[in-house]
Point group: C2
Chain length 461, copies 2
Amino acid sequence: MTDDAADDGLRLTRSALAAESPLTSDDALESWLRERAVAHDFDVTLSALSELDGWFFEPEYGDLVHRSGRFFSIEGLRVNVGESGWDQPIINQPETGILGILVKEFDGVLHCLMQAKMEPGNVNVIQLSPTVQATHSNYTGVHGGQPTPYVEYFRAPRPGRVLVDTLQSEQGSWFLRKRNRNIVVETTEDVPEHEDYRWLTLGQVLRLLTVDNAVNMDARTVLSCMPFAAPPESEAEDGYRAALRRSIDHSPGRHSTQEVLGLLTEQRVLQRHVQRRIPLGQVAGWDCSDMEITHEDGRYFRIVGAHVKAANREVGRWSQPLLEPRGPEVSAFLTKEFDGVLHLLARARTEAGSLAGAELAPTVQCSPGDRRGLPSPPYLEEVLAATGDRVRYDSTQSEEGGRFYHAQNRYLIVEAGEDTPADAPDGFLWITVGQAMDLLKHGNYLNVQARSLIAALHTTW
Amino acid sequence: MTDDAADDGLRLTRSALAAESPLTSDDALESWLRERAVAHDFDVTLSALSELDGWFFEPEYGDLVHRSGRFFSIEGLRVNVGESGWDQPIINQPETGILGILVKEFDGVLHCLMQAKMEPGNVNVIQLSPTVQATHSNYTGVHGGQPTPYVEYFRAPRPGRVLVDTLQSEQGSWFLRKRNRNIVVETTEDVPEHEDYRWLTLGQVLRLLTVDNAVNMDARTVLSCMPFAAPPESEAEDGYRAALRRSIDHSPGRHSTQEVLGLLTEQRVLQRHVQRRIPLGQVAGWDCSDMEITHEDGRYFRIVGAHVKAANREVGRWSQPLLEPRGPEVSAFLTKEFDGVLHLLARARTEAGSLAGAELAPTVQCSPGDRRGLPSPPYLEEVLAATGDRVRYDSTQSEEGGRFYHAQNRYLIVEAGEDTPADAPDGFLWITVGQAMDLLKHGNYLNVQARSLIAALHTTW
């Protein structure tokens, strides 16, 4: 680690531990959030797919596409993972968007310029978002809309210093090989604060992360990539906090990083992954109609249409398909101390749309509704049965409201019980938080659910 | 770096510097190579694609496929990279093969178990290959052939200690998203030495790497992933060698590793990469006949058929398509010292079949024949004009003879002239050898041509 990187980690940690911002008091933050929710006059109406302006099923493959040939499309995919195989619809958006947080020091404390952003699929009006959250079509003006504020800080040649810059995956079960650019840039310039934007400390952002549906997925994934240093030792800290400190601080874990990479390579080979594009109309087990695209047994998700009217977006009114999951997912990391160092139990998981094969996912990641009639996945019951202090984080968070409709998942961080075996079963792996943070310098190692939980972990100090 | 990793680096370096093996003298090595070339009774005859046993153009997409549905296929691809776009045929082999080298200490010196292997596309009979070089179909016996010797050392649960285990890309211009597992395993067991295999020091292997077409591509890529330590300081060393030592030793370079990763992310976004499978018959600019698949202007490559008869392979006789490049490629790294540390000028390069977008490629990577009528790419003339001591490596090496027919490329490592600007143009980047080796712990950062040159760099000590 260079000195600069170590210094960045300490400054991020100081900001995360900050009591209150000198710029935006907690009271001011609350009233701003309430006020923006009211100001965002918007309206979402679900509709038949055939009624979406500009969208149609193209004749050759039956894909649901936009007449511009841009944005995204709904396509058919035939997937094999190891010995399993299935067909499904999938969102193909071969664009790399920007998820960028601008940071700046005020009174010696780093602040993040966060946005109150409305997305059509949100269960609530607005959620806290990165400074810039824009697809390539957005920020290059394909929509013909207003320019994306602050995007100049994230496109080369940019003023400021880059703290994080990496392409990270998004939901592999719903997106085909999707990646977005997670980027954090520090500026020393004067930056105007538009009405939808506020400078907040990381402490303020992390406190909101313990509230349901307040910080959006895009902000959570960027937070997860930030190279926090270990918080200072405190006299009052319990064993969990001491173990977390050592884990963030790169104390040696059960496996060397070389072993972690080797075990993931092993799983990428074992979970042999083959993707084949097929016509949407030939996707076995799914019905594709003018109304919606839906699974025969009502599992997994459906694709519906939405008409959106919004005042504070680049474009004021538009139509688009949205993916509506059938039920909430549970994503949970079990934690355990080994030699006084906190470890997370990660699972190598290959999803339909994965770009590079298996990524490290939470211990549990499943939608219980989709699994009716099937045995519970490992550790689900242990996670749901945990009570009291063992539950370090338990919150419902939303997935990307620009593509998903009312996608709310429950996220948990739970200390494993005394009798949870130290030996990880095949495909599972105990890693330290420091190792997870090192892997997050690269893309396609931790999936987006695992990254939401890494961000959440920083609320458990 | 853990102590184990540092120790591995030193042991690899000691083996690379070893004068002669206590097991296999240089004379014995030479006579073994001559003897194996004679013993390998094999014969390759080119043929029309329509005459290949078991291969046919399937009616739906026009892909050239095998009747088993396994092995590989030739498909059509429509590609966009930034503002450019083109169609081309591409090899799709959605399998991860094993390129594995078994190592063992004899008299305190690490030895590699290397294979004398015949491949149908080789210009010569045999080349030095990894202990195991096998596709998934090979080593799981889909061919119905003989078992792959030594494969048990590379499949879990394996005896021995893993030194390297990573999925690396292969030719992105010819393969669709191809990766092979590059793996090095150390054993302390007694290992029988079959007649096609010999224990060699890395010094012996590297000396063969200065000979044309002696060490195959698969061996070169595994060698490039080995975590060598810096060789010891010697009194006689010149400035180049001293700078190389510091570079391998992770002396700070012009850019931090965070900056290197950020610059590559930037290029991955700028070189926006979209791949779309299209029917082989619709590939613009290419002719697809019963005889061959060929470019209208005779550029790039053609796909031809081959009948193969070989005594020492899992299967003794078979037919397959091979890709024959039209002309040799030149791949070269320019090097330059900054503050006494050797740097390589890498270029971020997106190829048709790239899995994750741009990878770091050599300074120059081009096929002059394909570029007739076009301006020379940057640095080509400087590389070809260099003479004397500035040329640190200059050798013709073969690409994978299992898929490519007579694919011989010229590889060079050349010290930049005094007047080569220190500032890298857009898309180029000065990196240290230590940084390249750190990146090689991960896949899809250095392309296969760059990796061949990293292996070659270890011959320039």
